[in-house]
Structure formats: C-alpha cells, structure tokens
Amino acid sequence: MNPMNTTAVQLEGVSKSFGAVKAVTNLSLTVQAGEVVAVLGPNGAGKTTAISLMLGLRSPDAGSAKIFGRDPRDASARDRIGVMLQDSDVPSNLRVSEVVELIGRYYPQPLPVKTALEMADLSDKGGATCSSLSGGQKKRLCFALSVIGNPDVLFLDEPTAALDVEARRGFWEQVSGFAAKGKTIILTTHYLEEADALAQRIVVINQGSIVAQGTPAAIKARVGGKLVRFKWRGSSVDFAALPNVTRSSVTGDAVELFTSQPEAVLREVFSRNLEITDLEVKGGGLEEAFVKLTQARG
C-alpha cells in the first residue's frame, strides 16, 4: 500500500443548508494521505461546516463524505482520526493527564500519555487541574487530545484562534512535528500566515464554495500581488488610476497600492515627484491574494 496514493478524506459534491442559509454548496475536496491542507476563508465562509461534514458531526443534504472510503460515523473511520474542534472546552475538574488518558482509551492503539503531553509541550502540566490552565494551555491540551489516538488524519478547526503570536508560532512547530511523521492534516484558519507556514495546499473557501486552490506559491502567482506602501501628504492624487495598480487604499497619510508590477508603479510615483516617506514593498503576501480571490466572487 503506497500511502501517497491513498485518499484519506473526500467530500464529493456536498451541500448543506441550515434553514434558509446555504452553508456549503456542491463542494468537492479530496485530500491524499500525507497531505497538509489548509482550508482558508473569512468567518462564515463554510469552513467549520465543511469540517463537520468530513467528521460526520453533520450529514450532507446532498453528496457524500468519506474518511478512508468509510462513512465518517463508522467507528473504523473514527479510530483513525484526531480532532481539535474550535469551541470545545475540557472537563474542568479533571487533571490534564487524566483527560488525555481517558480519550486515549477510546482508540485502538493510543500513544503513551507522556508522548502526547510532550508533543503538546505540556509535560510539566500533567498533574494540573484543567480549570487552572490558561487559554493557550487549554488549546495545547486539545492538541494533545487530538493526537493521543495516534491518528492518521488530524483535523484542526481554527486551532490558533485567540492565541497570541508567540503561542501561535509554538503551536505551528508542534503541528509541523506531527506532519513530519507522514500524517495527513486538514486545518481551517483565517490566518493567512498560518496556512502559508503549515500547508502544502491551500483551499480558499468563500460563501460555501471553493474559489481557489493550489500550493501557497501557486495561489500567490495566480494573483501575483505585491503591496507598495508609503506615507505621503499633499493634494489628492488618484492612485487607483495609476497604470498597473489593481487596487489602492488611502488612509490618512498612509497609501497602499496593490500591483503585479511594483517597479513600474514606483517609476510612475517618482516621475511625478511625489514626496514620499516610509516606502515599503511587501512581497506576495497571501493576505492580498486572499482578499482578491474572495472579492472576485463576492
């Protein structure tokens, strides 16, 4: 069995509505074993619904969801997945190691509790009561709970929401460590930097449909955006009308120009003898690509 040719998770033409709200419309997504895929989109785009369908927490109105070819509600499918939900709390009166051991018991071949705690950087917190943990530590505990079953596929739904920058970077290291073992990871995020840092493939979702997908580099190339940013004070200039500027924004004295040809734009700016300060050219951030992709369909 070649793991690279194995389909780990598959959504086939799934649709899901909640009352009149169409959360996901005819969405198809195949994730191969060993892939790290980021599902990216603004709040309310349908990311959590898509994950819920993959997990069998929700059943699709149309289409099908499969994990290793099985109904995600089958125990044989759940034996092989680990999950970190967005809004799950932990039992406040249990100790960290007790909760991790308990969840490990549900799985056929769990990791040792000690290993899971190490992976989540919680080795010194095993004896702590869950209610005494900080927000970041609780998130790490949820990560430990998602890996204790030694799953083949890891689902992380907005894992670093509400974490500070440092905690987020630490978390990325833990996830990368797990990915390095050849595991499949599907994560949702609205942090573009996070998708860029972790994923081999980015799937951009907006209004319940996939609007773009590819490697982080391919997504960037597709939009080809650079950001030219500077400060400037003076009589009004219609920056949007400059050649090669795809989008512009002026806030007070801060000017931001999106372009695929920053050199040409700068030449134009200098030729007009505008007195600018704090010049910056930011390279192909996903943020710009993302804004463009989601606005195109909006």
Binding site: T7, L57, A75, R78, D79, S88, P91, Y106
Partner: protein, 266 residues
C-alpha cells in the same frame, strides 16, 4: 483512486475496560465538584438533624417515627442526587462542546451515557448510605440489616423515573444555567407534594389528592413499607406506577435526545 481498506485494528482495551475508565473519570469529576457534592451529601443530613431528629424516638400507630422520616429522607436524598447531578452534567457537557468533541472520537454515545448513569447511581448509593448510617446512629433507629438493604433497593428503584427525567431535561436545557432552575422548579414542589418532607396526612387535602400522580410519592410509599409503615395500596401498585413513570420519561428522554441530534448533529 485507490481506496484504502480498513482492517479492524485490535483494541488495546475492551469496551468494558473503557467503560470502567470512563466511570472513574466521571466519578472523579463529580467528587471534585463541591457545588454538587455539598447539596448531595449535606442537605439530607441537615434535614434529618433539624426535622427528623427531634421526633426520631417517638412511636406512632405501631411504627417508629424515626424510621418513617428516615425512609422518606432516603427517597429524597437519592432523587436529589440523581436529578441534579445527571441533568447538570449532561447539560454542561453539551453546552461546553466536550460532548461534541467526544462524538468525533471512536467512543460510542451509549458508552458515555451508561457511564454517566452508573456514576450518578453510585453517588446516590453513597449519599443514601451516609444518611442512613448517620440517621441510625443519631436517632437510635435500629433495624435489621436486611431491612436496611431492602430500603436501599427500594429507593434505587424509586429513583429510576428521575434518571430518565434527568436525561430529558439535560438534553432540552441549554447549559447548566438553564438546567439548574428547571430542576429546582421540578424538584422542591414535587418532593413536598409527594410527602417526602412533611408526612402526607399533615398536608392539605388537595395535595393529598395530587400526590398519587407523582412518581416521588410512590417511591416514598415503597421506602416506608420497607421499614414497617403500612400503605393503603399494595406494594406492586407502587412498583407499577414507578415503572410506568420510568417508561414515560424514557420516551420523553429519547425524544429530547433525538431533538438535540436533529438540531446539532444532522
């Protein structure tokens, strides 16, 4: 596309072993929660001390008043334990997302549910044992061991409708903040009207007329028969009423569970 065939992975632990670990975790969570333990263990002891003890050594119509009150309070103790702890634990876990997380794991809902039920029944058994030991020592209520055991068995039967009722409320309520007032609203008027706090003959006629339609009344009667208090109806009648209430509340509990499934997991 190749589809991976899933071969059954041999389990590191049997379902029974998993259930035992789950029960242990549920018990620890309950025992470490003072806001649930204090009412569960101390309220029955307090009620006995204030209302039972002053009359405990009297005899009336050939039976011991202490035993009468102790049997009533025993029923009260197990109903309180089950109703509050089971309802609030189900409602809290549903609201916190913990239940949802557990449903993404291979754990089955029946296992989680069985564990909760066993846990709360064990706690009820403990609470009533503490009350009976305390009551018999302080009030000089002495009964043969067989009678004590029969009393405990009867109150555990009498609490079954309330286990089903707890599941129903737990699945209907949105979080502990909603569950707690609902349980209080059900529990105190019903215990009072069933004659668990004040003997029925001392209550207004209208309450006496309502009582036979309340599950706690039949539990109380059954408990008192065990300690030698005569009942107007045969014991079997009380058992049938209790089983009937259990069946009714079970149907409602299943309905509430399915309602929750339909709105949150479909």
């Amino acid at each position: 596309m190749t589809t991976n065939s899933i071969t059954a992975i041999p389990r590191a632990s049997s379902p029974l072993a998993t259930l035992l670990v789950q029960i242990k975790a549920d018990l620890l969570a309950l025992l470490r929660n003072p806001s649930s333990l204090i009412p569960t263990l101390l309220f029955p002891l307090m009620f006995w001390t204030f209302f039972g003890l002053p009359n405990a050594r009297q005899t009336q119509d050939g039976f011991n008043v202490g035993a009468y009150i102790l049997a009533s309070f025993a029923m009260y103790s197990v109903i309180q334990t089950v109703l509050f702890n089971l309802t609030i634990s189900i409602a809290t876990e549903r609201a916190s997302g913990w239940y949802k997380f557990q449903r993404t794991t291979p754990a089955r809902v029946w296992l989680l549910f069985t564990s909760k039920l066993v846990t709360v029944l064990l706690l009820a058994l403990f609470a009533v044992s503490v009350l009976l030991i305390y009551g018999s020592i302080t009030g000089g209520v002495s009964l043969p061991l067989g009678t004590w055991l029969s009393l405990i068995a009867r109150v555990m039967l009498g609490v079954l409708p309330f286990a089903a009722l707890s599941v129903m409320i737990g699945y209907l309520a949105r979080g502990a903040q909603t569950a707690s007032p609902i349980v209080n609203l059900v529990f105190f008027p019903m215990s009072f009207a069933s004659g668990l706090f004040i003997p029925l003959p001392s209550l207004p006629k209208v309450v006496q007329d309502i009582a036979p339609f309340l599950p706690a009344y039949h539990g109380g009667q059954l408990a008192r028969v065990a300690v030698g208090v005569p009942s107007a109806q045969p014991e079997l009648t009380h058992v049938i009423w209790l089983l009937g209430f259990t069946a009714l509340f079970l149907i409602l509990a299943v309905w509430a569970y399915k309602r929750d499934e339909a709105s949150n997991y479909r």
